[in-house]
Amino acid sequence: MTSVETRLNSIISEFADLDGREKLELLLDFANRLPPLSATYLERKAIEDRRVHECQTPVFLWPEVIAGRARLVAEVAPEAPTVKGFVALLAEAIEDQPAAEAEGLPDDILERMGLAEVLGILRTRGLRSIVGHVKRGITRQFNAKT
């Protein structure tokens, strides 16, 4: 099992036995832990096209590879705490892990957390597409640097 999988499994197990409301409360804890953008990224936000245009609320993502290690820098509007929490959770799962492992993030995280049925089909698919967005970003950077 890769270290990203281990981290993810640990996060998923935190959600496992909670009821729907508690799952959302835990997701809010993740949302609250997402750090604000540093000055550097605030500057980059102004000039780079980092907005995820598929999302109706403002979501800005920087999936990055530094010395072969992955990380995700993100800003999500406070009016979308579910998205913010999920992005924070992804960021925690891949932070400083080998990029090749981050590329393998599974698509069924929400189902395994039991959040898919709390959120419904459209929201689940919307969030799943963020996983795809992060993975593609990591792959692009990884390929560019190797």
Partner: protein
Amino acid sequence: MAQYVHPEVLVTTEWVAEHAADPGVRIVESNEDRALYVQGHVPGAVEIDWQVDLQDQVRRDYVDRAGFEQLCRKYGISNNTTVVFYGDKNNWWACYAFWVFKLYGHPDCRIMNGGRKRWDLDGRAWSTDRVHPQQTSYVAPEQDASVRALRDEVLKHQKAGRALVDVRSPEEYSGQRLHMPDYPNEGALRGGHIPGAVNVPWVLSVNDDGTFKSAKELEKLYTKDSRLKRRSPTVAYCRIGERSSLTWFVLKYLLGFSNVRNYDGSWMEWGNCVGVPVVKGTEPSGGSDPHGVAEAAEASVPPAPVHA
């Protein structure tokens, strides 16, 4: 028009703060983002979710009558309860839930003007309490067809040259923008609009604080600038029927349109249908005015009463 035609369907945050605990009142939050309710809600409010509670989880449709009755019983709503909806996103989903309650004939539905945004701006307190309403009894009638337009009805309506209002963004209306490849479930195979539909983006109906624009502003927007007629049968649509429920609410209750229906299938159905007419571009249909001919004298006719 100086006032809304049915001002009683709108309540202020102050009214909600005063009446939320009344036994005959149930406050209902409906959001795009479900975690917002968990983060904080109007004290005593329950949450009804448009995807999980109001929609059938297998077929693309609303819960059936029995499902709706069960939902109301669970959330402490009786047939005579005053149900006040509010939510995020300028009350999109609140209007959607309101519309579903009207689909099942619930008599007294209202919207808290301005939704979560206005509650916040007014500095009112949020609660994180779990709300456990006492189970009620509820008996719903069959669906009220006068609020809902189904695809074949829309097709007939369109062929008859009747009024359609497309409330999506100008980019979606013109066909310039299809939904992104990452969102195949929210996309359509064809872009554009139903021929004859005027484009009045829903967002033009609300102020920055989430409240509805004044009667005068709404009248200018819909009846003067867009030439929709209060007494003409009108169908509103968007992508999945949510933004158009807000426009439906505005037309029916604030402007007093006597016959307006929401096409909840909307572009996610129409843009995927085989053989239905579609046009692209910024004009309703090839640049001609589809609504300018009929009922030119409408302006002098007082709006017909609507029984909410």
